[in-house]
Subunit: 193 residues, 2 copies
């Protein structure tokens, strides 16, 4: 039996495909191993291209994911993602910016909502510069914030939320002593950061 040649692994990317599928399905290596009747050590080796599975074993694994061999080797992303873990987040702001905005569902085409995670350090404020149509919903996961809608101020604490139409000028400021995190959902999707 042949050693996997580096260029084959490169172009087939078996490890990468396996890891991606595992993340999409929110499984640990141990859970996947258990379902495919393998060991977690082997799953780790596969994901890191330290070894290659037999075709039969690969089939067992992709069966756990409910994916065909054809789909597994497909280079187009046909399967709409339903579950998005932390690693799927796309940061929409630079690391040097104090405000951190992360897209929770990247690739928002064909969707009605755009959920993002906003992180504000103490004292920082996020301004909305543009009006747009639609509605916004926010849930404060951490900290205490002040929401300004036109000329009115609202204090919102952890586990409280807000909902307003996007035709008002609005901004959010962290008025607490620790970082604030807001789960924010916009409909229809609009890119404004």
């Amino acid at each position: 039996m042949r050693l996997p040649v580096l260029n084959v692994e490169d172009c087939l990317k078996i490890g990468e495909r396996l890891k991606r599928l595992r993340m999409i399905n929110s499984l640990t290596q141990e859970e996947l191993a258990s379902r495919a009747d393998l060991t977690k050590g082997f799953i780790s080796q596969l994901e890191n291209d330290a070894t290659s599975p037999s075709i039969a074993t690969l089939k067992d694994i992709v069966d756990v994911f409910g994916v065909s061999m054809q789909e597994f080797f497909s280079d187009t992303d046909d399967d709409e993602n339903v579950v998005f873990g932390k690693d799927a987040r796309v940061q929409a702001t630079d690391d040097d910016e104090k405000i951190k905005v992360e897209l929770l569902v990247p690739g928002a085409q064909n969707r009605e909502m755009d959920p993002v995670l906003v992180t504000l350090e103490p004292g920082e404020e996020m301004d909305e510069q543009q009006f747009h149509e639609g509605e916004e919903f926010g849930f404060v996961l951490l900290g205490k914030i002040q929401l300004r809608l036109d000329d009115r101020l609202h204090t919102i604490k952890k586990d409280e939320c807000f909902y307003f139409t996007s035709d008002k000028k609005h901004s959010v400021k962290n008025i607490g002593k620790t970082a604030a995190k807001i789960l924010w959902v916009v409909t229809p999707p609009t890119f404004y950061y």
Copy 2:
């Protein structure tokens, strides 16, 4: 490493797929072996499911055929029918109707064009009642017809053709003394008979 389980071989049919591809490419086992840097004995074993290749080796083999791993594991019969004889025609009109319309390429899903054969007895007319988007092309195989587009009339004889956008009201009439036959192609496919 796991033995190939029988049901895996059954559903993946690796040997069968390999043999079919080899036949399509008119290669002997020895030629294929030579091109993939393997032995003919091994090819024979693979085709008879006596053993299973590693993924890397499978990739080498399908590369010889110019096929991707995705295509290799595809369950759809990729070789689309290209030739449609008379026996493949599907009549879209009843026998008691004077106008005869036959689909030339049945199962038109996933196609950009819908070709039909229209037969008109002398003096008969085929009306288009509905507007729709798209384009239409026609070739007069037999006879002489009159094409009306909105308020304009066109006489088209055997071996002449027409092409227009479908946003016009249109109809066709046989103005000859013998039956007329028109090969008519509509894009995108629309069912209007």
